[in-house]
């Protein structure tokens, strides 16, 4: 018998679970504070400044929500794939391809009413985003090709392709030689509600829809079963290839929709940098939400606060963006580590400890 032994927790009360998480976040903030100190800044100024930069005024809060929207939609997409243990790390590429589809509609189809244009852009975005996820899903389902690397490589190809369009055939003649795609007409731009583009409504609706899909539909249930065990799914007579393909189409389609939202409402054009790392950040947020659609909403808002706070201290305190990245990394490391204490109980054998002390 060792002094310290570890055993799996059978069930942990919800309250205690969130207490441990909160403790991890608190600890990580202390640690991040130490790092900020080492880097030569005052953490007692930096951390409050980050918070106030994210939620301090109405405009800053709007900025935070603007960052939360793409994160929520992409995380939902990632969630559907991850539920099935399909490691889709190609969110970036799917966002870009979605933006490409939306932009094609926005730049080429004229004369439709605004509503129809926007719907058509969304459909085009979801088809192209879905297609970009379908390619690796097809090879995974038919030949067992590793999807992690496949989806990742497709990111680079999508980015290079859009860069090519941006510098070549799609370059706007009005841009005075600057490599830029033409700006969308007003018809192709998402309207605003309460000062923020209606992407926030889309995101909220999708949270509910994905939650219902995963927990209350047959397909959603099948996706979860395939993720838990392909053997079980096969015994139950499920068509695994079909489930993999449907789930990744949804996953890529949602990421593509993010591309449409960003192109239409934020950039108002197509650019190779519009995915802004959301495809990667969404993996982390989806994971921390424990692949639960409702939790995704809250985790993404927390993350958006971190992102916006990081952007704010660049301007207010001239702290480089890289510091915010490091703080983000440190907080993530702590939260990742804390998951262990949620799942396992560390027992200290006091008898043995005392015996040792006596001896």
């Amino acid at each position: 018998m060792n002094i310290i032994s570890i055993s799996k927790r059978e069930d942990l009360p919800q309250k205690k679970e969130w207490l441990i998480r909160a403790l991890a976040v608190a600890l990580s903030i202390v640690c991040a504070g130490l790092v900020i100190r080492i880097l030569g800044y005052n953490p007692l100024q930096v951390i409050p400044s980050m918070v106030s930069g994210a939620v301090g005024t109405e405009i800053r809060l709007q900025q935070t929500i603007l960052k939360a929207i793409p994160l929520v939609v992409t995380s939902l997409g990632i969630l559907v794939a991850f539920k099935m243990k399909f490691w889709n790390i190609g969110g970036e590429g799917q966002i870009i391809m979605g933006a490409l589809g939306a932009s094609y509609v926005a730049l080429n189809i004229e004369g439709l009413p605004k509503f129809a244009t926007l719907i058509l852009m969304m459909i085009a975005a979801m088809i192209l985003g879905g297609f970009w996820a379908f390619i690796p899903a097809f090879f995974k389902a038919k030949m067992g090709v590793n999807e992690t690397i496949f989806t990742l490589m497709l990111n680079y190809i999508a980015i290079k392709f859009v860069t090519y369009l941006q510098y070549g055939p799609w370059k706007s003649p009005d841009s005075q030689g600057f490599p830029k795609v033409a700006t969308f007409s007003n018809n192709a731009i998402l309207p605003k509600l309460f000062g923020i583009h209606i992407g926030w409504i889309i995101a909220l609706v999708l949270v509910v829809l994905v939650h219902l899909f995963i927990n209350h539909t047959k397909k959603g249930y099948e996706i979860t079963v395939v993720g838990e065990s392909q053997e079980t799914a096969r015994y139950a007579g499920m068509n695994i290839s079909q489930i993999i393909i449907v789930a990744t189409l949804i996953s890529g389609g949602l990421c593509g929709l993010t591309g449409m939202i960003q192109a239409s409402a934020v950039e108002k054009t197509l650019s190779a940098t519009l995915s802004g790392g959301y495809g990667f950040t969404a993996i982390i947020t989806a994971w921390f939400a424990r692949l639960n659609a409702i939790a995704v909403l809250f985790v993404c808002i927390a993350f958006a606060i971190l992102l916006q706070g990081g952007a704010y201290i660049q301007i207010s305190m001239q702290i480089p963006a890289s510091v915010a990245d490091m703080i983000q990394g440190i907080i993530l490391f702590f939260v990742l580590g804390s998951e262990f204490f949620l799942q396992y109980r560390v027992n200290i054998n006091r008898k043995r400890l005392n015996a040792k002390e006596v001896a």
Partner: protein, 308 residues
């Protein structure tokens, strides 16, 4: 032609170090997706120490420590705390990129000091360097590359011909059986994750110290991810890792060569080649079902003795 191939060797080195590093890590059953971040950390620490001390050995030590410490964080989280390997690896990449960008902020555009340039200058190896065709390609290179050859050799012998290598294989194939036969599974996993990380760090340092001889923002530019893919291409074999890196090194400088030869092809299409080739490779390598080409059976399964 041999000029192009010699340049391809240079371009292949960062990926080769990182691929072999990741092979060693994966052999112990851990999938570390933080390679890109580790290369950036090694690249910047190697450059900073080299720049500040003017001592090439300090530069190399800095790169090894940066990669080693970075992967130690990964090891603690995934081995001892059983965190998800994919998410931890991605987080390591985010952290590493932030770290390199912050530390490197004041070094952007600076060039390595002359003492290092001299140390890493090309050496025409006697006899070997005079072999027709092969000599100019392989043996008129810089000492860092010769060290790379040595890493291929030593890691091949270590993995296939020593007791430690066989034990490592056992850990990666089935941690439970290895544990039952008395191998210290945790120690093996920690040690090889850190060695792997140190090699990734060296790959990054090759970029900043020798290949570019200067520090640039995001210097690694996706090579870490290609290395993760090359591990599959190489089917966990260091010699094949060298061949794969060589092919990719060639592809990555092809566009530049073609343009200088007057062949007009869009840079963006050429830039896609390494990534498209990676996809082709993983599709093709999924078709060969030979036993030695398979990943370690216990790859990315956390091992927990109490749950056996």
């Amino acid at each position: 032609m041999d000029g192009f191939l010699a340049a391809a060797i240079v371009a292949s080195m960062p990926m080769m170090f990182a691929t072999i590093g990741e092979i060693i890590t994966e052999k112990s059953g851990l999938l570390n997706l933080g390679v890109e971040g580790l290369m950036l950390m090694g690249g910047i620490m190697g450059f900073v120490l080299g720049y500040e001390t003017g001592n090439p050995w300090m530069a190399i030590l800095g790169a090894i420590l940066a990669g080693g410490v970075g992967s130690l964080v990964y090891a603690i989280l995934t081995i001892s705390l059983r965190a998800n390997q994919v998410v931890t690896g991605l987080t390591l990449t985010i952290f590493g990129a932030g770290f390199a960008s912050f530390v490197g902020k004041t070094y952007v555009g600076l060039v390595v000091p002359p003492a290092l340039k001299e140390f890493f200058a090309r050496i025409h190896l006697p006899i070997l360097g005079d072999i027709p065709f092969l000599g100019p390609i392989f043996f008129r290179q810089d000492p860092f590359i010769y060290f790379g050859y040595l890493v291929v050799l030593v890691s091949s012998i270590y993995l296939y011909r020593t007791r430690f290598g066989l034990n490592l294989k056992a850990v990666g194939e089935s941690a439970a059986s290895a544990d039952a036969s008395g191998i210290n599974v945790t120690l093996y996993k920690y040690l090889h994750t850190c060695i792997g990380g140190a090699l990734c760090g060296l790959g990054g340092a090759y970029m900043s110290l020798v290949m570019m001889s200067s520090w640039q923002e995001n210097i690694v530019a996706g090579r870490g991810w290609i290395a993760v893919a090359l591990v599959i291409f190489a089917s966990w074999n260091p010699v094949k890792a060298m061949i794969g890196s060589f092919l990719f090194g060639g592809l990555s400088i092809l566009g530049f060569r073609l343009q200088s030869m007057g062949i007009n092809i869009s840079q963006y299409w050429v830039d896609m080649l390494p990534y498209a080739a990676t996809i082709l490779i993983i599709i093709l390598s999924s078709r060969k079902n030979k036993k030695e080409n398979q990943p370690p059976a216990d790859l990315s399964n956390p091992y927990f003795r109490e749950e056996r």
